[in-house]
């Protein structure tokens, strides 16, 4: 029998894979993809709680999160293209001077 903890466990595993991807990769595109993975993990948790709680509010919030993800990808890829135009590379190591 699959219960709420199983779905939450899947969500945690997916989130950690995404966080690990952000930390170990240097390609800006793949970092953005890992952020999408983390967002999906959050969506799974929201839908699981909503479904097991018996209300639909969580699913509505997931729809909002889809729109926010679409905006994030649009602006993020715009930034990546602008960065590529300046340094001809999408490696984060090219931008280490931003580290403050």
């Amino acid at each position: 029998m699959i219960g709420l903890p199983h779905y939450l466990m899947l969500s945690v595993v997916l989130f950690c894979i995404g966080a690990f991807g952000v930390l170990i990769r240097r390609n800006l595109l793949i970092i953005l993809m890992s952020v999408e993975l983390m967002l999906s993990a959050g969506n799974i948790a929201l839908v699981a709680f909503s479904s097991f709680h018996g209300t639909l509010d969580g699913q509505v919030i997931v729809l909002f999160s889809f729109v926010v993800a679409a905006c994030e990808v649009a602006v993020g890829l715009g930034i990546i293209i602008a960065a590529f135009r300046i340094r001809a590379s999408v490696e984060v190591t090219e931008w280490h001077r931003l580290k403050g």
Binding site: P5, L23, R25, S50, T55, L63, A70, G78
Partner: protein, 165 residues
């Protein structure tokens, strides 16, 4: 039956997510990400969130991934494998932070698993009608604000794409 499907979709999602973060070639990572999103859509169907599952396929596996593949094609990148140095050295500290986070979350989840007093699945079908009704009654103000957010994102993306910033 439900548990078999759950484990299939979960294995698909986690396996392809791992492929995303180890794949040297960005195109391969994008294709693996599409597969992972299909797995997540299957999980949503198992949770009876049908409308969210359809939107996951249309928005993520459709629109967002087309965007990713388009940019990968535009930038014309060569694959670059992860060097071992990335996993050691000063990055080790940050990776350890991720592993620490994973351990904490997994331990708390194991604690939750031990609670065998789980609520039963209530019959809530996330159909288009039910979700749409909620979206246009209780959540109508956030729904309208989202359209402003989309407008801001369009203007921002066009501004970032200009020849000189």
């Amino acid at each position: 039956m439900e548990s078999i499907l759950f484990y299939c979709f979960a294995a698909l999602t986690v396996g392809l997510a791992l492929v995303v973060i180890v794949q040297p070639n960005p195109v391969g990572a994008a294709v693996a990400l599409v597969g992972a999103f299909f797995g997540v859509a299957g999980i949503f169907v198992l949770l009876q969130a049908h409308f969210v599952a359809i939107m996951q396929l249309l928005l993520y596996a459709g629109a967002i991934m087309v965007f990713f593949v388009f940019v990968v094609m535009l930038l014309n990148l060569e694959p670059r494998s992860i060097r071992f140095r990335t996993l050691t050295g000063s990055r080790l500290v940050r990776s350890t932070a991720a592993i620490y986070l994973a351990a904490i979350l997994l331990l708390s989840m194991l604690g939750a698993l031990r609670m065998n007093k789980m609520p039963a699945v209530a019959a809530t079908d996330g159909t288009l009608e039910a979700v749409g009704r909620l979206l246009l009654t209780d959540y109508v103000v956030p729904f309208e604000i989202l359209s402003v957010l989309l407008l801001v994102a369009i203007v921002g993306a066009v501004a970032m794409g200009k020849r000189e910033l």
